[in-house]
Symmetry: C2
Subunit: 359 residues, 2 copies
């Protein structure tokens, strides 16, 4: 009995977007793990992070996922340590679903897909996708799969924003919400980081010969918020030094080389147009505070990491206060880690007991 | 008796640079305030911040400063509230000197100057200028002006790094050092911000039609560290909204408009090549810790601002510890302000007593 799927595709003939536009011939790439119960109520939906994918757990190959940007980082599912038989999210018990965002570049319809009207790729002309559109597309997928209600919806990073908004859209459909290293709004520093990246991607249209490097630089700007800078200073290895003179007077220190390397790896596995699409969705995320009161029958777990400089713990504490004010049953846990925002990818042992005790 | 100069120029036929290269026909643009005593020992040297200038106090006009990028921000000296007769740095008592950095764009030899060999502007081929070169050029200027010893050397922001290094180069020449919102080394976050900006400026070489915008974006990246983001969120005005659609899906919030406006104003008064030159110097700043012990006869004042996210107070406290370990007589003051790094430009009243009591 096979309980882990390769990438499957779900088809939506026409999706009315939050912007008022419509998107035709929409495909949603997804994976499932475990078996849906006959009553259809043992499912868990997991939203991925900004540049994550539906390739959640287990092994994946470029051959099985043709036509998408690829490097070795994609060969192991991003939450393999969390999701599987007898793991933190136990696929012997739960039917787990994870889907690539519309606007993404891992198989769901996005800027690099063909516009059925022009028969050319949308590229930067892809319509504005809001997080709400992504959430709606995933609800349609769950309906299609026969999921009657969700035991839990889980999201780390911007996936947590979507998990939260999903609950406000379908409050009676969800029992539990887990928000990890995430929040409830866009902070000013995120707004500015997103703007910088969007501006760089916009300038890539002006490029003569170096288009890909703009995406690399955008990634570097974001990446500094995913890691602990203190650790970076200590760990960046001298071996990783660049010896070309791409930027004269720079790239002398191992920290600079580390960041350049992060950017260069990223352009192998993402596209500027998809990156721009998802950042746009994030920049326009705006949850009305009243809608949080709709969560009052949803048991909620909020997890922060003390060294996170992408979604700061202060924001999670604010979020918890808002939940409590709305009479939502809420558990808050702060994890002590030196790994920063990316802790949820790197340190399953810190999350294990907290999540297991909750679901 | 005129005690405030307009821009003067000091000529150095050949400057041997720290890199081993030489720079010919070097000019240093400077201003002086007050009168040098007969004994030549009442002088104060002030190093400016990254995009500051020698136009320290009083009024300046474009006509009196031909050939340099200009906007109205330059019409009032950047430290007019601090420097003048009966002001915090009292020009009735002191002879104050401020010079534009070599590599800058306000009259000192820099990337936009003509290379005497090719008779064309250096632009991005200007040699690597280290902060040490700038300090040496200013010592030559002081010698030329007849300054026998300095009552004090003062620097805010990266000017503080130069003030510090100047003291290690000429320890018996200086009585007092004032380091404001500065430090003693390059922090990892500064290193990464500088790298991002340098990369953007490097990409401007790839531009088809939008060269100036790269500098604007670089400034936006830096500017977010100069202000208090909390205040930005509160104060950014709705009126400042952009209504063009330069970046689709962005520039909707007043905070984004504010940042774009900061970038756009900056390109009027700076050049990409000079910006790149000075950031390079900063990125390569590397003071040997042993040299700090040379300050043991220099009375030192270190001032930090609690909301500073460019030079964090933690760094100033570390700096103070190092000074104390080296037996340097040190006073440390932390200012409480909501204005962040730019407090030293905006809030003279917070600095007044601290500086007056010290000098």
């Amino acid at each position: 009995m096979k309980v882990q799927s390769n990438t499957s595709k779900f088809y939506i003939p026409q999706l009315k977007l939050n912007s008022g536009e419509t998107l035709d011939d929409v495909e949603v790439a997804y994976t499932t793990y475990g078996i849906l119960s006959e009553s259809g109520d043992n499912a868990i939906l997991i939203f991925h992070a900004l540049t994550g994918s539906h390739m959640l757990a287990g092994q994946f190959t470029k051959n099985d996922n043709p036509g998408i940007p690829w490097n070795e980082e994609l060969e192991i599912g991003w939450w393999s340590d969390f999701v599987g038989p007898n793991k933190i999210i136990d696929t012997n018990k739960y039917f787990v679903v994870c889907a690539n965002y519309i606007g993404g570049c891992y198989g769901s319809t996005g800027p690099n897909s063909k516009n059925p009207i022009t028969d050319e790729s949308y590229n930067f002309d892809f319509p504005l996708i809001s997080f709400k559109d992504i959430e709606v597309s995933q609800k349609l997928l769950l309906d299609h799969l026969g999921v009657v209600s969700l035991e839990a919806v889980i999201g780390p990073s911007i996936g947590g924003l979507m998990a939260l908004e999903f609950c406000t859209l379908y409050p009676s459909y969800v029992n539990k919400l887990i928000s990890i290293s995430s929040g409830y709004k866009l902070s000013t520093i995120q707004l500015l980081h997103n703007l910088e990246q969007a501006y760089i991607l916009d300038l890539s249209k002006d490029s003569k010969f170096r288009k890909q490097e703009y995406l690399s630089l955008a990634r570097m700007i974001a990446h500094k918020t995913y890691i602990s800078l203190e650790l970076l200073s200590k760990r960046a290895k001298n071996e990783s030094l660049y010896d070309d003179d791409l930027i004269e007077g720079f790239l002398i220190s191992p920290q600079e080389s580390y960041m350049m390397h992060q950017g260069e790896k990223f352009i192998e596995r993402f596209t500027p147009e998809s990156y721009s699409s998802i950042i746009k969705g994030w920049q326009n995320f705006n949850l009305e505070m009243e809608s949080i009161s709709k969560l009052k029958n949803i048991n909620t777990l909020v997890i922060s990491v003390d060294s996170d400089v992408c979604f700061y713990p202060e924001e999670q504490r604010e979020f918890v206060s808002i939940l409590e004010n709305c009479k939502v049953q809420t558990t808050y846990r702060m994890i002590e880690s030196t790994k920063g925002h990316d802790s949820f990818l790197l340190e399953p042992e810190l999350f294990k007991e907290i999540i297991e005790n909750f679901i």
